[in-house]
C-alpha cells in the first residue's frame, strides 16, 4: 500500500488511546512504537513527543467516556462501588465499538457492546436492563423525525389495529430498573413494563404499564384490537379503548387504522 507508513502511525496512535498498553506508554515510548511496527525514526519521535502523545490518550478517552458517564450515572455508580467501572470502560474502548461519527451514538454503542458481549452480567443479571433504562428516555427523545403512515384516524375501533408514534417504545424488563437511583443502584427482581414516548412538546415521558396493557400495545400492532383484547382476556373493552385514546392524545400512539 502506497501510504503504509501514515496508516501504521495512525494505527499506533489509536492503539495508544484505546488499548490497555497505552496506560504505561510513557514508561518506554520507543518500545511501544516498535511493538506497533514503526521504524526506528518514528519510534524516536514517539519518545521525543511522549508527553504530548500521552495527552492524546487522556483527551480522547475523556471525549469517548464523557457521554457514557453522563448517560449511565447509575450503572457507573453500581460498577464503581464494585471497583469494576474502569475494567468495564477499558474493555469497551479496547473493543473499538464506536464506529459512528455522531457523538450522540457513543452511549448507544456502549449499550450495544454490553448486549453483545454480556460483560459483567454473569454476576449482575440486571446490568444490561439497568443501562438500557438509563438510555431509554434519551433514545426516545432523540429518535429521528419520521412521519407515521397516512390515513390514520384518532378513535380506536375493535376492527382497528394501533400504530405507535415512531419514537414510542414498549419495553419489558425482569427487574424494576426504573426505580433505581445512585443511592440504591441494585434493582428489585420484579417484572416491569414501561411505555416511553414523546409528548406533544417533543419531550420524553415514561409510564408504568400493567402486563396486560403492555401485551395489548404489542399485539394490537399486528392484529385487531378486538382480537388482541380477546386473546388477552380483557373483558372491559370500554376501558381498553379509553386507555388507547388517552395514549393517542398523549402522543404515544400515532393513530388507528383498519386491521387487514
Amino acid at each position: 500500500m502506497a501510504e503504509a507508513r501514515t496508516l501504521v502511525l495512525q494505527r499506533a496512535l489509536a492503539s495508544l488511546v484505546l488499548d490497555p498498553e497505552g496506560e504505561t506508554f510513557e514508561d518506554d515510548p520507543t518500545a511501544f512504537a516498535l511493538s506497533r511496527g514503526l521504524p526506528d525514526a518514528d519510534a524516536q519521535s514517539f519518545r521525543q513527543f511522549s508527553e504530548g502523545l500521552a495527552a492524546y490518550r487522556e483527551l480522547a478517552r475523556l471525549s469517548l467516556l464523557d457521554p457514557i458517564e453522563t448517560m449511565f450515572p447509575i450503572t457507573k455508580t453500581l460498577l464503581v462501588r464494585e471497583d469494576a467501572w474502569e475494567a468495564c470502560v477499558d474493555a469497551f474502548l479496547q473493543a473499538r465499538c464506536v464506529a459512528s461519527r455522531h457523538y450522540r451514538d457513543i452511549a448507544p454503542a456502549f449499550l450495544g457492546w454490553l448486549a453483545e458481549t454480556g460483560w459483567g452480567q454473569a454476576t449482575r443479571p440486571y446490568l444490561l436492563e439497568l443501562a438500557h433504562v438509563e438510555l431509554l428516555e434519551v433514545l426516545v427523545a432523540r429518535f429521528p423525525e419520521a412521519e407515521p403512515p397516512p390515513g390514520l384516524h384518532p378513535d380506536p375501533g375493535l376492527q382497528d389495529r394501533l400504530v405507535l408514534d415512531p419514537a414510542t417504545q414498549v419495553v419489558s424488563y425482569r427487574h424494576a430498573v426504573h426505580r433505581t437511583s445512585e443511592a440504591a443502584p441494585v434493582p428489585e427482581a420484579r417484572p416491569t413494563h414501561l411505555l416511553a414516548y414523546r409528548d406533544g412538546e417533543g419531550r420524553p415521558q415514561l409510564m408504568d404499564l400493567t402486563p396486560a396493557a403492555a401485551a395489548l400495545l404489542v399485539r394490537a400492532q399486528t392484529e385487531s384490537l378486538g382480537e388482541a383484547a380477546a386473546a388477552l382476556g380483557l373483558a372491559d373493552l370500554a376501558a381498553t379503548t379509553g386507555l388507547l385514546k388517552d395514549l393517542r392524545e398523549r402522543g404515544a400512539i400515532a393513530g388507528f387504522q383498519a386491521a387487514s
Partner: protein, 291 residues
C-alpha cells in the same frame, strides 16, 4: 485563488457563535439576538430528532448559518460513508452555507471513530494522501471545502517538514480554502515555542475564508485547546493582527464547547469580540496574501 470563489460569503461578516445544544430553545425563541450568523456541526443535526432538533432546524431555517464538520477524518484511511455524504450535501444546500469546513486531521482508524482531532504526520507521504482525500471530498460536496488548522500536542512520527509547510502544501495541493483558527495557532505557538505572527506571515493567507477563535487552558506543561474559557486578550490581538493582514472582513466564529455559559454571557463575549473586530477593520487596510 480569489476570495470570490465563495459565492454568498458577503452575507457573512462580523463575529458569529457556535450553535450549542444548551442554547437552542432560547435562540429559537428569540430573533433579535444580534448574532450575525451561527455555525453548526452537521454531525449533531443530521439524523437527530426531538425537541432540541426542532429548535435547531428552526434556527437554521431562519438565520444565516455556516457549517463545520467534526469527524469526517479527511486525513484518515476509512472510506467515506456514502449515506452520510448524501445527507451532508442536502444539509449544506438546505442551510445555504457558502462553504463547509472540516478539520485537517484524522479521527477514525480501521472503522473506529476516536472523536478526537488527531494529528496527521508532517510527511510528504501524508501530504499526498491528504491532498487526494481532500480533493475527493471536495468533489462530493455541493459547496467549497475549507480545512481548519488544528491544535496538536505532538508530532506523529518523524517529521519531514514543519506544520506550516504541511498545512500550506495540503491547502495548495487540494486547492481548498482555509478556516484559520487563531487560537490554535496561539496554543501551538505556546506548546512548540514559536512566534505566531511569524508563523502566520509564512502562510497562504489569501486562502482564508473564515477565522475561529476560542479559549484555552494550561495543564502542567501543556496548553490545551479546551473551548472552555473566555478568549484571552493576546488571542484577540492575534485575531486583529490577522484581520489587518488579510485586509478583508472575513467572518470570525467564537467557539465554546465546555463550561458553556448562559446565553447572555456568551452574547456579551461575542459583543466584546465584535467591538475588537470593528476596531481593527476601521483602520485603513495594509493588504493580505503571503508574507
Amino acid at each position: 485563488m480569489a476570495p470570490s470563489r465563495f459565492p454568498g460569503q458577503e452575507r457573512f461578516t462580523g463575529v458569529g457563535l457556535g450553535l450549542r445544544r444548551p442554547h437552542l430553545e432560547a435562540v429559537a425563541a428569540r430573533e433579535n439576538h444580534g448574532v450575525p450568523f451561527w455555525e453548526t456541526c452537521p454531525e449533531n443535526v443530521i439524523g437527530d430528532g426531538g425537541r432540541p432538533h426542532r429548535d435547531a432546524c428552526a434556527i437554521l431555517d431562519r438565520d444565516p448559518v455556516l457549517t463545520h464538520g467534526l469527524a469526517i477524518s479527511v486525513g484518515g484511511f476509512d472510506p467515506w460513508d456514502g449515506d452520510y455524504l448524501r445527507d451532508l450535501g442536502r444539509f449544506l444546500v438546505r442551510t445555504g452555507t457558502p462553504w463547509h469546513s472540516e478539520h485537517l486531521c484524522f479521527t477514525s482508524v480501521d472503522g473506529s471513530c476516536l472523536h478526537e482531532l488527531l494529528p496527521i504526520p508532517f510527511t510528504r507521504e501524508a501530504v499526498r494522501h491528504t491532498v487526494a482525500r481532500a480533493r475527493d471530498l471536495q468533489a462530493r460536496l455541493p459547496v467549497p471545502l475549507l480545512l481548519e488548522n488544528i491544535t496538536y500536542y505532538a508530532e506523529l512520527g518523524a517529521a519531514e517538514m514543519d506544520e506550516a509547510a504541511f498545512i500550506t502544501e495540503v491547502l495548495e495541493g487540494a486547492d481548498v480554502g482555509w478556516l484559520l483558527d487563531v487560537n490554535n495557532v496561539y496554543v501551538n505557538a505556546l506548546n512548540f515555542g514559536f512566534d505566531p505572527k511569524a508563523w502566520l506571515a509564512r502562510m497562504p493567507l489569501e486562502r482564508v475564508a473564515q477565522l475561529h477563535i476560542a479559549g484555552h487552558k494550561r495543564f502542567g506543561t501543556l496548553t490545551v485547546d479546551t473551548h472552555g474559557a473566555d478568549v484571552i486578550d493576546p488571542v484577540i490581538e492575534l485575531m486583529q493582527w490577522t484581520l489587518a493582514r488579510l485586509g478583508r472582513p472575513v467572518p470570525v466564529l467564537l467557539e465554546r464547547d465546555n463550561h458553556i455559559p448562559d446565553l447572555e454571557d456568551l452574547l456579551a463575549e461575542r459583543s466584546r469580540l465584535q467591538a475588537a473586530y470593528e476596531d481593527i477593520l476601521a483602520v485603513p487596510v495594509r493588504g493580505g496574501g503571503h508574507g
